[in-house]
């Protein structure tokens, strides 16, 4: 590791984040104010107050993470993954986990409900960044790749068991993106994608309510009073909003959409700010994604690069999924809109994640040795020559293989 001059954190990434979070607090106020009082809380400001506290704590986390060297996070990778898995397990223990609406996703700690799946998302990104960087181009071999996918698979299964298909999908998509960026062969990626599709289809067919959601997606007015209710009202919110929107606080559909301050908050925004407002929102996320990926692109360390790209992609994917759901572009699944939706765990984890990306942006000119990667590469050679192996035709360096290998190392 070479000592290098620290840079300024990425300005535009921070700006995009701050604007999104502030807009989020406003939207949480807007969406929840009218009805928070009669949701048993007795306080119209209930959600706003909490969201402000979450945002402040989140920004504290962001600035701390920004000050710390990215490699410091790396040391906590294994423990983070371990804690995530334990917490995900605890969610299912009756008496510890709390279920709302048939899904056990929360662990109540005082007035706060911890959502372990949010932490797990970040843990998976940290884990994959660590492992993929450590293994280097050895990731292109299935044997090296598979054990890591099993770890991700375990996390995804635990999230899925809550059940929380949306978060599980975010975990899997983010894994896919990191595999791609880390250099996994396209052929294998396609195979995994097909496998994932099959698995997803199986999950949908297995659970009647998921099938219902898919059918509703295909025809939102099919079951207005049941599974189509939310999406129909989201579409009505979008339509009513039109080009310019009704104006702040003028939205109507927030009186229909259940818990409008959470996953469907975008619908209220679309209704009140119109298509123009949605373009601004999309612009902010595009700015965020662009700056995040730039940080990853400019880094001189595979770990830092993968970490930045992983976190940015995770946020961006989640934003895309959320908007896709309330525009009825994909079957309904509950993921919060990053930085905007009400929810402490999500907001705080996201902000800490952004802090990590910003931390990476401060150490762009540092190179990081990956001694393990060399070892894995050489182990490949050792195994080839040190052990008795049955010769296999596929390992013969054919012309095609030589060409591909050359392309890899080009």
């Amino acid at each position: 590791m070479k000592a290098a001059r620290k840079l300024q954190p990425d300005f535009w990434l921070l700006v995009a984040t701050v604007v999104l979070v502030v807009a989020g607090v406003l939207m949480v106020f807007d969406a929840s104010f009218a009805r928070a009082a009669d949701r048993g809380m007795g306080d119209s400001w209930y959600f706003v107050k909490r969201q402000i506290v979450f945002a402040l704590v989140g920004f504290l986390g962001l600035f701390l993470a920004m000050r710390v060297h990215p490699l410091a996070f790396r040391r906590f990778t294994k423990i983070t993954v371990f804690v995530s898995i334990i917490l995900l397990g605890l969610v299912m223990v009756p008496g510890i986990g709390k279920s709302i609406g048939g899904a056990a996703r929360w662990i109540p700690i005082g007035p706060f409900h911890l959502q372990p799946s949010e932490l797990a998302k970040l843990a998976v990104v940290m884990y994959l960044a660590d492992q993929f960087a450590a293994r280097g181009t050895a990731m292109r071999r299935l044997g090296t790749l598979l054990p890591h996918l099993l770890v991700v698979g375990l996390v995804a299964m635990l999230v899925l068991a809550e059940p929380d298909m949306g978060t599980a999908a975010v975990v899997i998509f983010t894994t896919g993106v990191m595999m791609y960026v880390a250099g996994v062969r396209k052929r294998q990626l396609i195979a995994f994608a097909l496998l994932g599709l099959l698995g997803g289809a199986a999950l949908i067919v297995m659970e009647p309510y998921r099938l219902e959601r898919v059918l509703t997606f295909l025809n939102p007015s099919r079951d207005y009073y049941g599974s189509g209710y939310q999406i129909t009202h989201a579409l009505m919110a979008l339509a009513t909003g039109g080009l310019r929107g009704l104006g702040l606080c003028e939205g109507r559909e927030k009186f229909y959409i259940p818990a409008p301050q959470t996953d469907m908050i975008g619908a209220t925004l679309a209704e009140e700010a119109g298509f123009i407002g949605m373009l601004v929102l999309l612009g902010l996320f595009i700015l965020f994604t662009y700056r995040g990926l730039c940080v990853g692109h400019r880094t001189k360390s595979t770990y830092m690069g993968l970490l930045a790209i992983g976190i940015t992609s995770m946020v961006s994917l989640q934003a895309l999924m959320n908007i896709a759901v309330f525009t009825s572009s994909m079957p309904a699944t509950g993921v919060p809109l990053p930085f905007i939706s009400y929810g402490g765990s999500c907001l705080m984890v996201m902000l800490v994640g952004v802090g990590m990306v910003l931390s990476v942006s401060r150490h762009l000119n540092e190179t990081v040795e990956e001694p393990e990667a060399e070892k894995y590469e050489s182990r490949h050679h050792r195994r080839r020559h040190g052990r008795t192996r049955i010769s296999r035709a596929q390992y013969r360096p054919t012309a095609k293989r030589i060409r591909r290998r050359a392309s890899v190392y080009r």
Partner: protein, 599 residues
């Protein structure tokens, strides 16, 4: 090695950025499509779901008696509802709600188990209950304001008033026929509502104020009504009758001053009431009038010039043959061998069937039919009360056999309602005019201005004043010396006629053994009538004579009415014969009106 991996990463990151950019553009396109290009359909749908016309119920009008006593009005009430879908803890909520509202737990459970978004637990609950429910602040339980129709005098006048359903729509009686007047017009607001049906603040688009219902003033006098119900109920109960009716009319205007039926009910709480008890028997039930109809036959005879003192027939205990049949009189002491030679006075006094039949035979079917019709027995009375029985036609008089003509003469083979009979007697009482019976006096707006007023309606002149006067004398004779002695009132001249008709068999042929309709009707004071009173008791047990079953009711109503109406006595008082309480009443009247010297 790391460097190579890094290069790899960088190249693919560029592609990743491109992919993200494409996805964002797609999503933006999708938003543009939904929000701008193709937003009409969902805009319309949203409008349809959100914008509602919310009713503002109009206040239903009250019903008053002729002097302004409240007979039906509204009080604020509350409905308790649940939102079953939102209830998570059914086992806890149900018993709690049951104890708060005082309703049965099974009813609460039933409401919760409907599983919808809204179900009433209880309606028209008093204010105290709603306060308790609101204080308890149970989840998914709410309270709505509504009004409850109440009848402060309970069963008083129940058959005339009728009742409403729980939403205030008139179902029976005046509530039903005057529903349009009473109901008023509901107002509404147009506003946007949320998913719980509440108005979203500041979305009101327009409103129409409700127009409250008008008040209805009846011709009924609550005091006379009470007197009539009281007296009738005594006879109804002591004779275990199947039913009973009393009608009190003002003979000069046709206004119904009291209309009582037994059995009765409390319109405030109709649970467990036999639907038969709702029936306004005075207009819905037809019966055979029997001897009371003889008055009409005699009046027809007088009008057609038969001298009242001419001996019309000779009544013997063998009766007289008509065709292959024979008609008889029901004979009492001291006329066990028949009434002998009878003139019209005697026919009425002693209720001689043979005499009445003879007059009928002398008049012939066409004339008798014409008079029955003129007295209103072949028309619905048109009182304005619902459920008036359709007329049972007498058929074409040319086709009447002699026996039918004779029977109609003394009141058999004719079906009438008590109200029809009362109107017919009012003709004699008022000097020969048939007045249309009337129940609604006027309709007033809430501010007291008269919207519509109903004046007395003359249907036709039926007999001359002279005929009426003579017929009245005959009725006085019946009360003073004949079958109607039990209705004599000290200090007043009373006109009346008894009736004790056998009931027609339900099989359609002949008469039912042992089943009678006892009746008494007439007017007081006889020479300056203020009231026509008609009492009909259906199937009394033990005794079936109009004189014993119906006449005491008549007497009690008349006595109380005379006192209440401050009618000066027109006959000398026989103090020693009157009972204590009655004497008191009469004295009081005398004292009040300073009419002691009339006695």
């Amino acid at each position: 090695m790391v460097l190579r991996h890094l290069r790899f990463l960088k190249r693919r990151t560029v592609w990743l950025l491109v992919t993200f950019a494409v996805l964002y553009v797609l999503i933006a396109g999708r938003l543009f499509y939904i929000q701008v290009l193709n937003n009409e359909r969902y805009c319309e749908l949203a409008e349809r779901l959100r914008v509602r016309q919310l009713e503002i119920p109009a206040s239903r009008g009250s019903v008053y008696d002729r002097v302004g006593r409240e007979l039906a009005t509204n009080v604020p009430a509350f409905a308790v509802y649940v939102q079953p879908k939102k209830i998570k803890d059914r086992e806890r909520v149900a018993p709690q709600l049951a104890s708060l509202t005082g309703l049965e737990e099974s009813a609460v459970v039933r409401a919760i188990n409907t599983g919808g978004t809204f179900a009433y637990v209880g309606r028209q609950l008093p204010v105290g209950v709603s306060d308790k429910v609101q204080e308890a602040n149970l989840p998914a339980v709410g309270v709505l304001r509504e009004t409850k129709r109440v009848y402060p005098s309970r069963s008083l006048c129940a058959h005339v008033l009728g009742f409403t359903d729980i939403d205030g729509r008139g179902l029976e009686g005046i509530e039903r026929v005057a529903n349009k007047q009473l109901a008023g017009r509901n107002g509404h607001i147009v506003a946007e509502i949320d998913s719980n049906g509440r108005v979203i603040p500041e979305t009101r688009r327009g409103s129409v104020q409700p127009v409250d219902g008008n008040d209805v003033v009846l011709t009924i006098d609550a005091y006379l009504q009470h007197a009539a119900e009281d007296a009738l109920a005594k006879s109804f109960e002591s004779h275990s009758a199947a039913g009973a009716t009393a009608v009190v009319l003002d003979p000069h205007t046709g206004e119904i001053l009291a209309l009582a039926n037994c059995p009765t009910f409390d319109p405030n709480d109709r649970r467990g009431v036999q639907p038969g008890a709702w029936r306004n028997r005075a207009v819905t039930d037809l019966y055979e009038p029997g001897s009371t109809l003889k008055l009409l036959t005699v009046a027809a005879g007088l009008e057609e010039g038969i001298p009242p003192t001419e001996v019309i027939a000779t009544c013997t205990n063998g009766g007289i043959p008509i065709g292959r049949r024979r008609i008889r009189c029901s004979l009492h002491h001291p006329y066990m061998a028949g009434h002998g030679g009878v003139d019209m006075f005697k026919i009425i006094r002693h209720s001689c069937n043979i005499g009445a039949a003879s007059i009928a035979l002398r008049l012939g079917p066409d004339k008798l039919y014409a008079y029955e019709k003129a007295f209103g027995l072949q028309d619905q009375p048109g009182s304005g009360m619902p459920g008036e029985a359709p007329v049972l036609p007498l058929g074409s008089p040319e086709a009447w056999p002699a026996i039918r003509l004779a029977n109609i003469g003394f009141g058999q083979g004719v079906a009438v309602s008590a109200l029809q009979m009362a109107s017919a007697y009012a003709v004699i009482a008022n000097g020969g005019n048939l007045m249309s019976p009337q129940i609604i006096r006027e309709v007033r707006a809430k501010d007291g201005t008269v919207v519509r007023s109903f004046s007395p309606k003359l249907v036709r002149r039926v007999v001359s004043e002279e005929t009426a006067r003579k017929a009245t004398e005959m009725l006085i004779g019946c009360v003073n010396e004949g079958t109607g002695k039990t209705s004599k009132i000290d200090g007043y001249s009373v006109a009346g006629k008894t009736g004790s008709a056998q009931k027609a068999s339900t099989t359609g042929r002949g008469y039912a053994a042992g089943k009678f309709v006892a009746s008494f009707m007439g007017f007081v004071p006889a020479r300056n009538p203020r009231l026509v009173i008609c009492v009909v008791v259906d199937e009394p047990k033990g005794t079936h004579w109009g004189a014993t079953v119906a006449a005491p009711v008549y007497k009690e109503i008349a006595q109380k009415a005379m006192w209440y109406l401050k009618v000066p006595p027109d006959e000398p008082l026989k103090e020693d014969q009157t009972s204590g309480s009655n004497r008191m009443n009469v004295r009081k009247v005398n004292h009040r009106i300073g009419a002691g010297n009339t006695g």
